[in-house]
């Protein structure tokens, strides 16, 4: 994972996307490439969280950007361009998971009783890369629902609509995935504490 990097390493350059979007609508190759170069790394980060390998994430990114360029005329300047592209990437990732044999079998969600809320209180001391790797360790179904609810901020109703499941199923799946993740974080945190004490 040498290609993984953190956003804060690069200075944030504010851009006026209006002209860029206009040029993309006119199908100017230069504008299209500029848009791609600007958003591709962060969008691949999004795709990476939903898949199990970088190659799959790149496939999703490719498909997503094709959709972006073909439908950019539908983008209304009222919303943020990054958020619009992100939504496209998330939807593309979900389609990819549903269509791809590797993921399709794990995308079956069963109705389960709500998992009790955990009392664990782990410290999130991991960086983005480590967190993403941890999320990717979750089973695909959990991983998807966790990403959609915790990171993207969709409601359980919306998730239910997106995945064709009930709101309750989404809630229970999320609770289980959250519990798993917190447990892992707790373990990691205790391990690191032990290491620290051992070091002293």
């Amino acid at each position: 994972m040498q290609r993984l990097s953190l956003n804060h390493c690069q200075p944030h350059i504010p851009m006026d996307y209006r002209q860029l979007v206009k040029d993309c609508i006119k199908e100017k190759p230069a504008a299209q490439e500029e848009l791609y170069r600007h958003f591709a790394p962060s969008m691949l980060g999004v795709c990476y969280r939903y898949t199990k390998s970088v190659e799959d994430a790149e496939d999703v990114l490719q498909e997503g950007f094709v959709k972006v360029f073909l439908h950019i005329k539908d983008y209304t300047a009222s919303g943020e361009l990054g958020a619009w592209i992100r939504r496209i990437m998330v939807n593309t990732a979900l389609n990819f998971l549903k269509k791809n044999k590797k993921y399709r079998t794990e995308m079956v969600f069963t109705e389960a009783p709500l998992h009790p809320v955990t009392d664990l209180n782990p410290q999130v001391n991991l960086d983005a890369k480590e967190l993403a790797e941890l999320i990717r360790q979750l089973p695909t179904g959990f991983q998807t629902i966790f990403n959609l609810y915790a990171i993207e901020g969709y409601t359980h109703v919306e998730i239910g609509q997106m995945l064709g499941i009930s709101e309750g199923t989404s809630k229970s799946q999320y609770a289980r995935s959250r519990y798993l993740l917190m447990e892992w974080l707790e373990n990691l945190s205790s391990t690191s504490k032990h290491k620290r004490y051992a070091g002293k």
């Binding site: 956003n7 190759p29 170069r37 591709a40 691949l44 980060g45 990114l61 490719q62 993403a132 915790a150």
Partner: protein
């Protein structure tokens, strides 16, 4: 930890996550976008072409309708003059009311008809027949039929007009002439003209040449006969005029459809070539990105484009704007090619969907370009040599690139690529042509002549095809579907 806090922390951390995609991804995106756009454009052009053709056909049909109607009208005007095969059963062309009489008529032999004719002439001259309300029965061998035959038949032939044209004072020679004229017609087996003339006061009816049985003259005095005769005499002329008009209308058909095919050589102007490759190094690619094929094109390593074959074929709809001017519009498929010299082909992985070639001159690579074109041209008749018309065409065309295997060049890797191109998808061209009509004047036109086509739009804004304006020189043939 509060649920929201945990999610917030995760969100904040994961928003920072960035993964640098492989360079191939952008090439794939670009290639896929281009392919999908091509498909869309192809569908659009196909739909446009279909609508144009359908519209042209419908317009053509609508515009031709009056011509057909007028011919139908002519048939109505000359309803008394229908041409039917001489040996054809008259029942097929006659109203049901006369069917019984017709059956009787059919039984008569040719000799009976001739004798009937003689009687008719005799009668028409007024020598032996009373003027008022006379019915001349045929002296047939079959007496059983005679009563039936005596039924008036409201049918006339041209021969009868001849008969009617003869005044009571006509002399014997004229009678003979009339008879011989009629016999000529009667003996002709090609066609028989049947005429029905109904008058308020008088009625002259003669069966057609094959089936004359009876002539009835009813309340027709000599003067009226003469008037009617004159009128009847003028009718064939009138019919002839109408026929001429029909022919003229047919010639004056304003819309038409034809097919065209042109083949020749496609080349790019030498001036534009030298201009393209004289630069030491230029960014042909997009925003000078080093990953972009054709970025930093170097003149020394790039092969110039050499001429290739080209052809165009399509359908066209034309509209006559006068005797010597017409507007043509159509839809064509254009194929053109340019040859460039490359080195050996490199093996690429299955994941990469494009071909790569080294620089060099060992391989002649044919860059093929497939366009859908909408040509619009104005044709003017310059002059005629004998029966051959010489036309000159001038026009413009809008072409849409629907497919290509054209090479691009990446100077960083010193390699040629296929699959990704910077070609302009839409090209505007000017064309000029001479067309000689080789077909006879009574047949649909068949034109042949030289054609030149020059692209106003350059093939590409950057890269190998930068600044190139293809020039097509070839021979074109056009075949119209009808005159």
């Amino acid at each position: 930890m509060q649920e929201n806090e945990f999610e917030k922390k995760l969100q904040q951390k994961l928003e920072m996550l960035q993964v640098q995609p492989a360079a191939e991804v952008w090439l794939k995106v670009k290639s896929q976008v281009a392919q999908k756009k091509k498909k869309r454009r192809f569908a659009f052009f196909f739909l446009l072409a279909f609508m144009l053709c359908a519209g042209g056909l419908v317009t053509n049909m609508l515009l031709n309708k009056p011509v057909n109607d007028s011919s139908a009208g002519n048939a109505k005007i000359a309803g008394d003059e229908m041409e039917i095969p001489a040996d054809k059963d008259l029942n097929e062309t006659k109203p049901a009311a006369n069917s019984e009489a017709n059956k009787e008529v059919q039984k008569a032999t040719a000799s009976e008809k001739k004798s009937a004719l003689a009687a008719a002439i005799e009668d028409a001259t007024g020598n032996t027949i009373p003027a008022n309300n006379k019915t001349i029965g045929l002296e047939t061998n079959n007496n059983k039929n005679s009563s039936a035959v005596r039924k008036p038949i409201k049918r006339n032939t041209k021969a009868q007009f001849k008969v009617a044209a003869i005044t009571p004072q006509v002399d014997e020679d004229e009678t003979e002439i009339a008879q011989s004229n009629y016999e000529k017609k009667a003996s002709s087996q090609a066609t028989t003209t049947v005429k029905t003339v109904e008058k308020e006061e008088g009625e002259v009816a003669v069966a057609d040449s094959e089936g004359i049985k009876e002539i009835t003259v009813t309340d027709l005095n000599a003067e009226e006969k003469t008037k009617q005769d004159l009128k009847k005499e003028s009718e064939p002329e009138k019919a002839a005029v109408i026929t001429e008009e029909n022919k003229k209308k047919s010639n004056d058909r304003k819309w038409g459809i034809g097919f065209s095919f042109a083949a020749g050589i496609n080349k790019v102007g030498s001036s534009s070539m030298s201009k393209s490759f004289s630069q030491e190094d230029y960014n042909g690619g997009v925003s000078g990105n080093p990953n972009t094929p054709t970025a930093g094109l170097n003149s020394s390593s790039v092969s110039p484009m050499q001429p290739g074959y080209a052809f165009a074929t399509g359908i066209q709809v034309y509209r006559k704007l006068g005797n010597s001017l017409k507007l043509t519009m159509g839809l064509q498929y254009n194929y053109s090619s340019l040859v460039s010299k490359t080195g050996k082909r490199l093996d690429t992985t299955a994941a990469v969907r494009f071909e790569m070639y080294q620089t060099g001159s060992s391989v002649n690579y044919t860059n093929r370009y497939h366009y859908l074109t909408i040509p619009v041209s104005l044709s003017a008749r310059l002059f005629s040599i004998g029966n051959r018309e010489i036309w000159m065409d001038a026009g413009a065309s809008l072409s849409q690139l629907v497919g290509t295997n054209a090479l691009s060049f990446n100077s960083a890797q010193e390699r040629y690529f296929t699959g990704v191109h910077d070609l302009n998808n839409t090209v505007l061209s000017l064309s000029a042509a001479l067309a000689i009509n080789l077909a006879n004047s009574n047949k649909p036109a068949f034109y042949i002549g030289p054609q030149v086509n020059y692209a106003l739009t350059s093939m590409a804004a950057g890269g190998l095809h930068q600044g190139m304006h293809p020039l097509f020189v070839g021979i074109r043939v056009q075949k119209n579907l009808w005159k």
